[in-house]
Amino acid sequence: MKRTVVPMGPQHPVLPEPLVLDLVLEDEKVVDAIPTIGYVHRGLEALVERVEYTEFGYVVERICGICSFMHGMGYAVAMEKIMAVEVPERASWLRLIWAEMSRIHSHLLWLGLGADAFGFENLFMHCWRTREAVLDIFEKTTGGRIIFSVNKIGGVRRDMADTELAAIVDTLQQLGAGFAETARIFETDPSIRHRLAGVGVLSREDAHAVDAVGPMARASGIRLDTRLTGTHLYDRLEFEPVLETAGDCLARVVVRVREIGQSIDLIRQAVERMPKAEGAPIEVKVRGLPTGETFERLEQPRGEVIYYIKANGTKYLERFRARTPTFANIPAMIRLVKGCDLADVPNIIMTIDPCISCTER
């Protein structure tokens, strides 16, 4: 049969960021897909050679506007490991709370974009309206809605009052209760099921084979979550990752929907279990210059991110590298796209939650 190549992207109504897929079609079936990235490469990693290590945290945050807190946290934690700095416990708890809030707002943003991708614009608006409440909490507690600038090597720059923490938990629980109706729509609406169920199925074996991470892997039944390692105080919380077994687009949506409720519960647990020590130190003074290298892993909303830092005893780092979850999930996306209908390609691309800014840095 005659083959046709349809370029999809870098500008496409469904793509929030520039990604090119050259789709090789036989009639309406996709038989091959060739990805091209590199449209938003900004050279942020190379900046590490010209920006002092104390200031590079502000650059790292700008890798991505959605995971900005997690990037700042990952850099700070990795540098603290290199410099053997023990961070005050309260700072670690605050980081955990902000990190889970990042997950909530990232998933809400994605659910909106996903709804928009399968043509449910009303639902898109509901998700983004819910997300505004989370951004309000960020603005109250960090001073920023997207870029927070609250992490620093040695701790965090802002504290939260215990009453404020309790109020945040109340607000998030109300948000969760209000979101339950939206969640029910995602899980039960027949038009959504018709569009997503059975589409883009990634089996458990395939997910293993292509090293899928994050909700992509968990939707295929793989119990893979960096939070299970217990680092960053997650060992003090009761945590079990959300798993689905279907591995299709709907399962990936459902995993993210349920992770919102789970993150709200993790924040509630954190507020309950963190010492009531308002006014306790939230940072330690960091002196000297870093020497050595380290890896650091975090569970971002899209999956596992890995940071590599090499320091050479000067105020400029020798190397900074981030392996982002979207990069890890692109092979899975390509595997899913092959064999699907052309009309399903946008949904499959969206359900990996692609963040091209993170991937290209």
């Binding site: 920006v51 104390t54 200031e55 502000y58 650059v59 449910f120 009303n122 639902l123 608006m125 509901h126 309206r129 505004e132 309000d136 603005e139 109250k140 507690t141 001073g143 920023g144 870029i147 600038s149 720059r157 802002r158 109706e181 939206t182 029910r184 729509i185 039960t188 609406d189 027949p190 038009s191």
Partner: protein
């Protein structure tokens, strides 16, 4: 075909018909900022001792100061409002305003100015009593004792 009234979104949509909008008529109705919001850096030339600590630590090199000229400058278009300078300043000369001016590119500069977003202050010498520096709306002040 499914009964439309059994669809889970229908009830929500009907409620939306009578509920208040979630959006505002911006800019007529602007959302108030929360306490602690990081907006724009403000500078108080009266209290600055031109130590240069903020200049050295600014991640984007948005600040400049000269102890000899007793001048201070902010490039608002470079500033990322991280607040590092505000935290560092021992004299409380730098403050974080919650306001974010909408037309930032012409702050303190005439249209067509080659340095949009550039703000500059000059602290008058105690004995000189010279003319006020550009961008100093107070018309120059006596230098603080250092």
């Amino acid at each position: 075909m499914a009964n439309p009234f059994s669809l889970p979104m229908v009830g929500r949509s009907l409620r939306n018909l009578v509920s208040r909008p979630a959006t505002r008529r911006y800019p007529g109705e602007a959302r108030p900022h929360f306490a602690g919001t990081r907006g724009t850096i403000e500078f108080d030339v009266d209290t600055c001792v031109f130590c240069g600590l903020c200049v050295r630590r600014c991640p984007t090199v948005a600040l400049a100061c000269s102890r000899e000229d007793r001048s201070f400058a902010i490039e608002q278009l470079r500033c990322i409002a991280c607040g590092v300078c505000v935290d560092l300043c021992n004299k409380d000369s730098l403050h974080m305003s919650m306001e974010t001016p909408r037309v930032q590119i012409h702050a303190g500069a005439a249209p067509g100015d080659p340095r949009p977003g550039h703000q500059e202050w000059h602290q008058a010498q105690p004995a000189a009593g010279g003319p006020p520096g550009p961008g100093d709306p107070a018309g120059g002040v006596a230098a603080a004792a250092t």
